[in-house]
């Protein structure tokens, strides 16, 4: 049953993006807004606006009861959750399902299953998809640790089972180091977490983050190739590309086929992304997790495939079967997205909310700017700092970087600080231009003060 009225349970640039896709299909829109967001761009574009609560997200966009009530009262027949907030919350999705309203995404069971790292890993193994080699359960004692590390292959990363957020992690290069470290790590874990359990997995130095976009209709699944998202700061992606230019063609095919195999195994419906670590030295890839929602960086895939992913999401949620097969999909050229955040790169990326006094988006045939900005808008301090995404396309990667530099030069945002200058510096950097980076590269680059050095050159 095609969607007639769509409730947008998100804010910012993705709400704008969703409304555009709905309008293209003649679907009416209801925009949810916190009290701080009633004048945001998405509210100006939507057919209706409903205030769901006070400014803090916990009291509005994350308040399941308030959002569900607003959905029911709006008369909408479908809900798009965007990314973040409640987009991967099984309890929210169950409540939407129970109300007889279509959720633009997979069902609650799939979200719960793929959102659980251990369950997603088991599903991957069952589908024959490589996962990061790791210990089976906890490490029993030093003998067990030696055996498991030999099977996994050095260097290994030893983690406290009860740890998290990077705490209690050690890199071990060889067996001699392992013998010294395991007893010590156990007693430290006991002291820190009250639990001496350890587990280990292969440590991939210079890993790249590569992910595969899939679309499923609950029966069939296709992939829309991969994205390279290794340039990250504090585990947040800042610059994404499609395709992953350094990937050998045979590896690309195996990678994308593995993503389809896993998505098929769970009868995946709607848009999803399978994230992998890629070891360029051995050309091995390892599944790490699946995101069961549209992603921030989806436009680079749209740019190289010509598929409007958000419109595809709406059609699938409206009951359509996939209207193209794998062989109908081709990739063309190269696309880069950079995230424009309201932060000051010269002051340790301090948040920079406030009023935008002047704004101009880059123009051009192959430049796209997805944004929440307009001249005079107020960027609220309560939410994510992402205010725009600049996406460029060109026939090849070198030309795409040149197009990015030109488009960044055309972007004008005054009144707040943005990370545009970081991207100018990155685009001018020799290693970035060669595509020679990994997930820890950007933080090292900044620690060495190379942002300022490259920024100076970019301006000269």
């Amino acid at each position: 049953m095609a969607i007639r009225k769509l409730f947008v349970a998100n804010r910012g640039e993705i709400a704008v993006r969703i409304i555009r896709a709905a309008q293209a299909q003649g679907i009416r829109t209801v925009q949810a807004a916190s009290e701080a967001d009633t004048d945001m761009l998405a509210c100006r574009m939507a057919d209706e606006v409903v205030v769901i609560g006070p400014a803090p997200a916990a009291k509005s966009y994350l308040n399941i009861d308030a959002v569900i009530r607003a959905i029911k009262e709006s008369g909408a027949d479908a809900v798009h959750p965007g990314y973040g907030f409640l987009s991967e919350n099984p309890r929210f999705v169950s409540a939407v399902e129970e109300a007889g309203i279509a959720f633009v995404g997979p069902d609650a069971d799939t979200i719960a299953k793929m959102g659980d790292k251990a369950m997603a890993r088991s599903a991957a193994i069952a589908a024959g998809v490589p996962v990061v080699p790791g210990s089976e359960g906890r490490i029993g004692d030093l003998d067990d640790a030696r055996r498991q590390a030999a099977r996994i292959g050095y260097p290994v990363m030893v983690k406290a089972s009860a740890g998290g957020g990077g705490r209690g992690i050690r890199i071990v290069e060889d067996e001699a180091a392992l013998e010294k470290m395991v007893p010590q790590a156990m007693s430290e874990a006991r002291a820190a977490f009250g639990d001496d359990g350890l587990y280990m997995e292969r440590y991939i130095e210079r890993a790249r983050h590569i992910e595969v976009q899939v679309l499923g209709d609950g029966h069939d699944v296709v992939h829309l190739f991969e994205r390279e998202c290794s340039l990250q700061r504090k585990r947040q992606k800042v610059w994404e590309e499609a395709p992953a230019a350094m990937l050998p063609e045979a590896v690309r095919e195996a990678l994308c086929a593995s993503a389809v195999a896993l998505a098929r195994r769970v009868n995946y419906r709607n848009a999803g992304t399978l994230e992998y670590l890629y070891d360029g030295d051995t050309q091995e890839f390892f599944f790490i997790e699946m995101n069961t929602r549209i992603q921030v960086e989806h436009p680079v895939t749209e740019a190289i495939t010509g598929v409007d992913l958000v419109q595809a999401q709406l059609m699938i949620a409206g009951g359509e079967r996939l209207w193209f097969g794998q062989n109908d999909l081709e990739r063309r050229g190269h696309a880069i997205e950079v995230r424009i955040n309201a932060e000051n790169p010269d002051k340790m990326f301090m948040p920079s909310p406030g009023q935008v006094t002047a704004f101009a988006a880059p123009q051009g045939v192959n430049a796209r700017f997805d944004t929440l900005l307009f001249e005079g808008c107020r960027v609220a301090p309560f939410y994510d700092s992402l205010v725009g995404k600049l996406i460029v396309w060109a026939p090849d990667r070198d030309a795409a970087i040149a197009a990015l530099q030109a488009a960044l030069g055309d972007l004008k945002v005054e009144g707040i600080h943005t990370t545009a200058s970081l991207h100018q510096a990155l685009a001018a950097d020799a290693e970035v231009r060669r595509g020679d980076f990994h997930t820890a590269w950007l933080e090292g680059w900044m620690a060495e003060g190379r942002m300022q050095a490259a920024g100076g050159q970019a301006k000269a």
Partner: protein, 80 residues
Amino acid sequence: MALYQVLSPLPGIFYRRPSPEQDPFKAEGDRVAAGDTVGLVEAMKSFFPAEADQAGKLLRFLVEDGDAVDAEQALAEIEI
């Protein structure tokens, strides 16, 4: 008796606890030392401490835990 106010370092959301499961940094009536954190302000998913400039006694909080605050808004009153 002199009073001064702890001001918010930037606009955002004020929290009295380091995380939802933990105890508040300070209770009304507590002694504070110069540089003590009395609360956190969350802006764009980052957290910034609101600190006491001078030692004294925290008389009262002027905003509720979880409230939206402006830059330079008074968060707590301290008696020197």
